[in-house]
Amino acid sequence: MDIIGLLNDLTGGNLLLWKVVGTSIVLFLAGVQVLLAARFWGVSTVPSMTVGNAARWHRILGRATLTIAVVVAVSCIAGPAGPTSPTRVLLHSVFGTLVFLILAAKFALIRVLHSGDRLLPWIGTALFLVFGAIWATSVADYVTVR
């Protein structure tokens, strides 16, 4: 099945625009995730909610963020993935690979091995930065071309 054709049909012929919106939402939510994590790790009082609520929302938004990220990533991998030129595209692919390696490491640590809690702030920060890099090497270019 032609996944790109299917997704393009589902988005009314606006697949690229939906990817731009999806990538932007993922970056925004990744920022919110960092704030929520800082709250329940006790290093920030923002946002003003209980530690328990911050942790619960971190899980809920995390799953939503990953779902959107995976859908956007699949639409990239099934369609345009492959070119290594220009440099922007190469970097975009590298950051895309990196984000899934970090996610695999994170869930392997906390859900399978049940260890490495001390690394979580670093992993979360790295995820936010890499999502930012993915946005900069895709959406920023899309907006510039327009």
Partner: protein, 126 residues
């Protein structure tokens, strides 16, 4: 190993597969572009329209009737070559690296249905 942990192992493996998919696509595209380069000289007698940076180049092409035009997707996004006249020319989805050949026997106004701002025109000379 309990069921929940197995589920997380599956998720971790899925993320690793997603991480590998990008480099795999790069290697495949690299091999494919090597093959295309070998046949590109065969287009010498025809005309070429390239899809790059979400645009057709040239946007307007003038050719003699019966000329074969090759549309090459050199972009990082999938495109289509679709006539604005209903029921007319339609390449279907052209993923990056793919081409579409069309023998032109009448003027053509076309659009990429994935990116509606991306339009082109073929005129007949003489």
């Amino acid at each position: 190993m309990d069921g929940r942990r197995v589920l997380w192992v599956v998720i971790v493996v899925f993320f690793l597969a997603m991480a590998l998919a990008g480099p795999t696509a790069m290697v495949r595209a690299s091999r494919a572009s090597g093959g295309q380069a070998a046949t590109s000289g065969q287009y010498g007698g025809g005309a070429v329209v390239q899809m790059k940076n979400i645009a057709f180049a040239p946007a307007t092409l003038t050719v003699a009737r019966g000329t074969e035009v090759v549309f090459q997707n050199l972009d990082v996004a999938p495109h289509t070559v679709t006539g604005k006249t209903p029921g007319g020319v339609d390449s279907g989805t052209l993923n990056p690296g793919k081409s579409f050949r069309l023998v032109v026997d009448q003027p053509l106004d076309y659009v990429c249905t994935i990116h509606p701002n991306m339009t082109g025109k073929i005129l007949l000379s003489g």
